[in-house]
Structure formats: C-alpha cells, structure tokens
C-alpha cells in the first residue's frame, strides 16, 4: 500500500520524461486520496484488530509472547462450554434455516406457483428486523409460558421447549438468517440450465432421485455460500444471546469479561481470536468449495429450469407448507407489534389489553437514542459512500499501485465480528485523548460512528463498484477529449451517473448501521451517547420496560424497512433511467 514519494520533480521537460515512469511518480489527487483511505483503514481496522490479536498472545503481566491465555481458556470449563455452545448453535441454526429455506426455494423455482411472489417478498422480511429485537417477542410467543405453549398445554397437555436456553437462540437466529440461504439457493436453482435436468430425465431419472443426484448438487455452491454466511453471522452474534439471557456462548462471554473485568483481561481477546479464526475458516471453506465449481449457468441453446404445474393435492400441500413457514417467519414481527401495543402480556396467549402508552413512554425516554442513531448512522453512511466511491474509482479506473489492496482491506471488515472490532477500539483508543473534549477517543461518540462506518463500508463499496461498472469509460473519455480535467470529469460526469448506486449504498449503510448492536454495545460509554439499538437492549432488561422497548423496536424495523424499500426503488428507477438513456 505504501508508495514512496520522492519530492515532486520539477516539471522540467526533458529529464523527467526521459526517466522511467516508476522513478518519477506523478502524484495526483487520486494518489493522495488512495493514501488517505489506506491510512484510515489501517488505523480503524487493521491496527485495532492486530492489537486484539497481539494482546491475546501476550502475558497480561509482563507483555511477553505466550500461549498461556489459550491454555487458560481451554482449561476453564465455562469457556469450553461456551465454545461448544457457539459451535452447536451455529451449526443447528444452519440446519433449521435450511429446513425453512429449502422447501421455499424449491417450490418457487421449480413449479408455477402463484404464492411465489409472496414468498419472494415475505421471505426477506426477517432481514429488515435486527435479530435481537425479535428475540423478546419470540419469548412471549414460543417461550415456556408463551402463546404457543399455553395453547398446547390447554389442548394437548404438552409443552415444547422452543425457547429454552440454546434452543431459543437457534430458533431466533435461523428465523432471522434463513433468507441468506433462500436468496443464494434460489439464485443457484434458477441458474441451472434446463438441459441439465432434461438430460437426467431423458436417461430415466425423476422426482426425488433427480433432485438428489442432479439438481441439488448443481445448486450446492449457492447453498454453501448461504450456509457459510448463516454460520458465521450466528457464531459472531452478540445481541440475540444477550437479550435471551444466554451467556454461555463466546460473544457474550467476551462482552461480559470486558465489561465486568475490564479491558486488561486477556480472555476477551482470546475469544476474539477464536471468532476471527472461525470467520476466516468458514469463508475459506466456502471459497474452497466453490472453487472450480462455476457451474454452468444458462448455456447456449438452453434456458432456466423448466417449471412444472402442481397437481391440486400438491398445490394444497405446497400452500400449507408455505403458510406455516411464513407464519413462523413473521412471528417475531407479530409478537413485537402485539407487545408494543399491549398493556400486560404475561401467562396469556395474547396481551390483556391494548394501548398506545408504550409509544408515549418510548418517545419520552428515547429521543436521545433516536437522535444519536440518526447522527451516528448518518455520519457512518456518508463517509461510507464517499470512501466507497473513491475506492471504486481507484480500483476500476486507475492503475495506482496497490489499488486492489484497498478493496481487500475495506472488504476484510466483513470477516471481523462486531465484538472484536469493539474490543479492538477500546484497547487501541482508550489511551488516546481527544483534545478539547478532554476524554479518551474510545469513549467519545465519534468512535461509535467510525466503528459503524468501518463495519458497513463493504456494503457501500459493493454498491458503488456496481454503479461505477455501469458507467461506460467512453463517457469519461468524451469529457476528457473535450478538455475536462480528471477532477472535473469525476465531478461532472462520473459521480452524477453513479448517483443511484451511491444513494442505494447510503441507504443500505444507514439502515443497517442504525440497528447494529455488537460493536456499539462495547463502545457506548454513557446512556447519553447510546443509539437506538442500545436503548432497546436497556428497555428489554426489565419486564416493565418491554412494552416501550418493543415500541422502539418497531421504530427500528420501520427505519430498516423504509431504507430497504427506498434503496430498491432507487436502484429500479436508476435502471430505468439508464435503459432509456442507452442507445440501441
């Protein structure tokens, strides 16, 4: 990433031109931008994470390199149990999420089924709710004394421990994350060439055997990509176990150690290393699995999978399955809505009465949270799209040395769990004092915004890259040939043409940053600095605060929903605009 820059050579025609180009780098504004971004990412991502790694391998007393912390970790039965629990919960969430996603993906891609659009849209609704928000509502519906178990007890005299301990985490996580599998698996299934299936039928294969021997193996890369994502998200997640009061898992242990014992306790760092290693391992596994399996997307003379008509009985069954799954998937939303409008909801299938009081309480107590959220997410998303646009331009349009490294560095944030970034910031920035404000950088509100910025940068970067890839180079060259400088060209041609993509990136970053909990919970130093997600966490700690917490949760859902819809509308409108401007 470093390019040594000797003092700018004087533009003496002759000498500089005769020297090889690498000896006399022409430092442009873009070079400086690249350098600044690189420094920013090193400081806000690489250094904090490296700090965490180093501390994990240091003797807390002497600072000498040691593996003792890891030995201690695995000698403590609570940590061993947490490790196993995290692993078990992640694996089981993948299994349950698959059980939800597979039928939906199969039915929608394989059959002409009028419910397909319903599934395609409702299937994504879980993603617009932060998982921890739904957790408490799920307790009230599926918990020991929740709606479902009360009814089961009344009717059949049985109870099912949906939400007991780890089961609760698995249920909430798989309901929240199954869309990742659904999206990837559906895309893979749709991309299978029709002739692949027909060739198998032609040779005598059909039904379940056809699916097992040909269709599913061909969709495997998409499935693995989705499953790896679910695994890693669940493995890293802090909010859901915390809200369900399940503390014997890795992320909650890291949080509790740091928040109760302090940032000098090495166990939080050891856990961070394990989280990062698992993140990278599962991304790597999915990469290995996908390598060399760029399976035939639609080939010449082919077409997407043939859709079959359902027989009436099959149709009834398909609708049954779909409705059941959708009910399950929507239960956190339904529960949250009931909770937010309910008076008292305890030992009863439904709340005792309905009121708006929770929203009033919420508004009176949460103004700061909401304002903070708008501020933090706004700052983070603005920086994200500025940096994202710059990186996209540098990577795609320039030949600056190390440009690809910028992309990798920004994207690497995906592999860093929020807890780890939070711990890294605490460790790295607690000793740096902010002048004028007179407090350590680690407890200044700006650091929360910066953490959110780093966490959401990969998403914004992808949006900006996609947008820039659609701007033809010829449009820039036309401007330059008419005398516009590089900077004017970027200002007047490139950025305006990228507006749609940039805006979509902004909205996505904003909406997801607004409900992020795992990094922020580590960095919030006082309630006055807390954002909305932290506010929900605080409300949910007491039974009396639940109603208001649910109301705030509804606010969060609405924010993310509006963001998602807005970014979709922007992208669609941009596409149309582009299509109408295109010459054919």
């Amino acid at each position: 990433m470093s390019y040594s820059s000797p003092p700018p050579a004087k533009r003496q025609a002759g000498l500089a031109d005769r020297l090889p180009g690498w000896l006399v780098p022409h430092l442009s504004g873009l070079h400086i931008a690249a350098l600044l971004i690189a420094l920013l990412l090193v400081g806000l991502l690489l250094v904090p994470v490296a700090q965490v790694m180093i501390v994990a391998f240091q003797d807390p007393a002497t600072g000498a390199a040691t593996l003792q912390n890891f030995v201690d970790f695995f000698r403590t039965s609570l940590f061993r149990e947490s490790f196993w629990n995290s692993f078990y919960v992640s694996a089981m969430s993948v299994v349950v999420a698959t059980a939800i996603a597979l039928p939906l993906a199969y039915i929608t891609t394989r059959f002409t089924f009028s419910g397909s659009i319903l599934i395609q849209s409702l299937g994504f609704i879980p993603l617009i709710m932060p998982p921890f928000v739904g957790a408490v509502a799920m307790q009230l519906i599926f918990g020991r004394n929740g709606t479902v178990n009360l009814l089961l007890r009344d009717w059949f005299g049985i109870g099912i421990p949906f939400m007991e301990g780890l089961n609760g985490v698995i249920l909430v996580q798989s309901i929240h994350y199954f869309p990742f599998i659904l999206i990837n698996l559906s895309a893979s299934l749709r991309n299978i060439d029709r002739s692949m299936e027909e060739a198998a039928q032609n040779l005598g294969s059909h039904g379940i055997r056809l699916f097992r021997r040909v269709v599913f193996p061909l969709a495997m890369p998409g499935y693995i990509a989705g499953a790896a994502l679910v695994f890693i998200k669940v493995f890293d997640d802090l909010g859901t176990p915390l809200l369900l009061n399940v503390n014997n898992m890795l992320a909650p242990q890291a949080f509790l150690r740091i928040s109760s014992i302090g940032i000098s306790d090495p166990m939080g760092y050891v856990i961070s290393v394990i989280l990062v290693v698992f993140s990278i391992l599962s991304l790597w596994t999915s990469f290995l699995f996908m390598r060399g399996k760029e399976y035939a997307t639609v080939q010449k003379g082919g077409g997407g999978m043939a859709r079959r008509e359902l027989k009436p009985i099959e149709k009834a069954m398909a609708y049954g399955v779909v409705v059941l799954i959708l009910l399950l998937v929507l239960s956190p939303h339904i529960g949250l809505l009931l909770l937010s409008f309910g008076t008292i909801w305890s030992y009863a299938p439904l709340p005792d009465g309905y009121t708006l009081a929770n929203y009033v309480t919420m508004w009176e107590n949460s103004k700061t949270y909401i304002l903070n959220t708008v501020l933090y997410a706004g700052v983070a998303a603005t920086l994200d799209v500025i940096i994202g646009t710059a990186i996209a331009y540098i990577v795609i349009r320039t030949r600056i040395f190390g440009r690809q490294g910028l992309d990798y560095l920004a994207t690497a944030a995906l592999a860093v769990p929020g807890v780890v970034l939070g711990i890294g910031y605490l460790r790295t920035f607690h000793s740096i004092d902010v002048p004028l404000v007179d407090k350590p950088l680690a407890s200044w509100w700006v650091i929360i915004a910066l953490a959110l910025m780093v966490r959401r940068l990969p998403y914004a970067l992808r949006a900006c890259t996609a947008a820039l890839q659609q701007v033809s180079l010829a449009l820039e060259e036309a401007a330059e040939s008419l005398g516009a400088t590089k900077r004017r060209t970027i200002q007047k041609i490139v950025v305006p043409l990228m507006t749609g993509g940039i805006l979509a990136g902004f909205v996505t970053s904003f909406a997801t940053a607004a409900v992020e909990l795992s990094a922020t919970i580590m960095l919030v130093s006082s309630n006055n600095d807390a954002p909305l997600s932290y506010g929900i966490y605080l409300f949910m700690q007491t039974p009396s605060g639940r109603g208001a917490g649910a109301a705030l949760g509804i606010v969060a859902v609405v924010v993310v929903a509006i963001g998602t819809i807005a970014s979709q509308i922007i992208i669609e409108r941009d596409k149309k605009l582009r299509a109408s401007g295109e010459q054919r």
Binding site: E198, A199, L203, H206, L218, K300, G302, A306
Partner: protein
C-alpha cells in the same frame, strides 16, 4: 439394439397463444438417419423435444416402435437425446456421467463399469473416464454426451443441433463420426440442424420445416433437384427464381419470363406455376446469344477459386451464375453485356 420406427400423426403444439407445430405428419423407418432441417423458429427443435417428452404435451400421436408415447413421461420413453449444450453434469466425472442412466435403471455397479468402458471405447475416449467435464474440449464433451446417451441402449437417438457448438473443422470430423456410429449401431436417429450441408452429408432422408409445417420430405438429392415449393428451393442451395408463365403448344412447352424472354421446357418438367428455378451451375454465361438465352448485364463478380460467381441482371431479376475457373478462361467485366444460356433439363417450375 432394437430398431424402432417413429410415426408422427397430426401433431399440433402451442406455447400459450403461439402455434409452433401445425399438423405435422412424418414416418421415420427403423435404422434410418433422418434430419430435421429448417431456419430457427421453424419448429424443428420443438418437434424433437416433443418426441423426447419435453415441453408442452402436443395433440396428435407420436409412436415409437408402435407405442404411443405422447402421454408418457420423458423418463419412461427410452429415447436417447443429445443436447445442444451437451448438458454434461459438471459435478460428476465422465464415468459417473456415462453411468448415470444405467444406475437409474438400478443396474448393479459391477455390470455398469464394463458397459461404461465399452461406450467410452466406442467414442474413442476411454482414457478420459476419470476426468471432470470442465477438463474436456468441446469435441470431447460432445462424444461423452453421445456415449452417455447410447450406453442405455435407447430405441431411438435424438440429436439437437449437436455440432453447433464446435468449430468448423471439428464439425466436419464429428459429423463423419456420428454417421459411422449410427451405421455401426443401426440406431434410428433424428438429427436437428439449420445447416443444410450437415443435413445433406449425413442423412438418409430429411424433412424441411418452416413455420411449424413440414415443407417436404425426401432424400437430400430429391429435395435439391425437385423442391416442392419456393421455400425449399431457396433454402437448399442457391436458387435463381424467375417469374413468368408457362405457355403450351401441343406437347411443347416454354416458360416466358416477365421480360418476355422464352425458355423451352423439356417434357419431364412439370408445367404448372409462375416461377422457374434455375441452379447457378445450370446456366452458362456467354457473349453470344443462342437457344434458351436471356440477355443481361454483369452487375458484380466474385472470384471463389475453383469458380467465378457472377451476378447478372436478366429476366427481370438478378441471377447468380457459377462458372468453373481455369486459367485462360474468358472473364466478363462488370457492366459487360452477356447472354445466359439456361439448361432447362434440370429446371423446376413452381
């Protein structure tokens, strides 16, 4: 292997509102190499897929070896199909691909192995058995697809544009290979193509399709020499078509063109219709007038090596004339006034 004939009777098929096949009747003899030839959108692939059981269920009947298969599922028909894209499954090795159908038929593994080896040997690729499809060239994939289909001993073999994804020289080699295999196995085979050269060189008989209707059925020579209509005449080779009318005087007949020139017709030429079809090689170009001569002017000429192709304005249209080339032959310059001497023995009036 069992040889089965195919009998197609009054087959209609629509995609939604669009009628793709409009009353197709066709009989293919056991062991015949039969080609469906037509432009894209003519319905040839749709007809082939209907025989295999893919796409919407057609009306009418399709009999394979006497059994009506219209209502049968594809996996119960026992017809082998080679797809245009080959459709080799990328997650299975060559051996697994070829053995797939046998395994579906619940054949024990120890019987599958020798059969797969034999099929691979037949296409000359036994050494590639353990490779994955993405490690094969286009021609090799084509052969594996063929081996995978014939190993299950289907009653008929269907080839959907099997050569279209190969480069030109390989295409010539593969079509000879296909023909050799077909003769060796005696398998009733249907070959779909839009390339008349492919159809001409391989098939015993062929059907030319256009607009979902069979235009003509016959051997390649019959179709070339005796096209049933203008579409077939134009589609097979180059055809010069002059408009005009037939005039008869007793048992003598002549064709009078729109420009008033007259061409005498031999007794064997059917004498109904307002068009005469002349192939380029049946016209001589000359500076002198003579019998059956049309006066004209050279518009364009192309040197093709063994031949010189002239475009001549005559008889109210532009006529393509091929003259074989040897050194020292008289050349006609663009703009030259010439006469075209038509050999009407091979002409067809439509």
């Amino acid at each position: 292997m069992e040889r089965a004939g195919i009998k197609i009777e009054d087959v209609h098929l629509s995609f939604g509102e669009t009628k793709v096949l409009k009353g197709v009747n066709l009989e293919i003899k056991p062991g015949e190499f039969f080609a469906f030839l037509g432009p894209s959108g003519s319905g040839k692939s749709t007809l082939l897929r209907a025989i295999a059981g893919f796409g919407p269920t057609p009306q009418g009947s399709i009999r394979i070896g006497g059994r009506d298969v219209v209502k049968l599922s594809p996996w119960t028909r026992n017809v082998g199909m080679v797809f245009q894209s080959y459709a080799l499954w990328p997650h299975m090795s060559v051996r697994e691909n070829v053995g797939f159908g046998l395994k579906e038929r619940k054949m024990p593994a120890r019987q599958i192995r020798p059969k797969v080896d034999a099929a691979l040997e037949l296409v000359g690729l036994q050494r590639l058995a353990e490779r994955m499809p993405n490690q094969l060239s286009g021609g090799q994939q084509q052969r594996i697809a063929l081996a995978r289909t014939i190993v299950v001993e289907p009653e008929v073999l269907l080839l959907d544009e099997p050569l279209s994804n190969l480069d030109a020289s390989l295409r010539v080699q593969m079509r000879r290979e296909l023909l050799r295999l077909q003769r060796q196995l005696g398998l009733t085979t249907i070959f779909v193509t839009h390339d008349q050269e492919e159809a001409n060189t391989t098939s015993d008989r062929m059907a030319v399709l256009d607009g979902g209707v069979i235009q003509q059925i016959g051997t390649p020579q019959e179709l070339y020499d005796q096209p049933a209509n203008l579409f077939v005449a134009r589609f097979l080779g180059t055809a010069n078509i002059l408009k005009g009318r037939v005039e008869s005087y007793g048992d003598q007949a002549r064709f009078v063109t729109a420009t008033g020139d007259s061409l005498s017709l031999s007794g064997s030429t059917p004498s109904e219709g307002g068009n005469i079809v002349l192939r380029p090689q049946n016209i001589q170009i000359s500076r002198e007038a003579g019998r059956n001569a049309l006066p004209g002017k050279v518009l364009h000429k192309e040197f093709l090596g063994s031949q010189i192709r002239y475009l001549v304005e005559a008889g109210g249209t532009e006529i393509v004339v091929d003259q074989s080339h040897s050194s020292g032959v008289d050349w006609y310059e663009v703009g030259a006034d010439v006469h075209l001497l038509a050999n009407t023995d091979n002409a067809v009036v439509l």
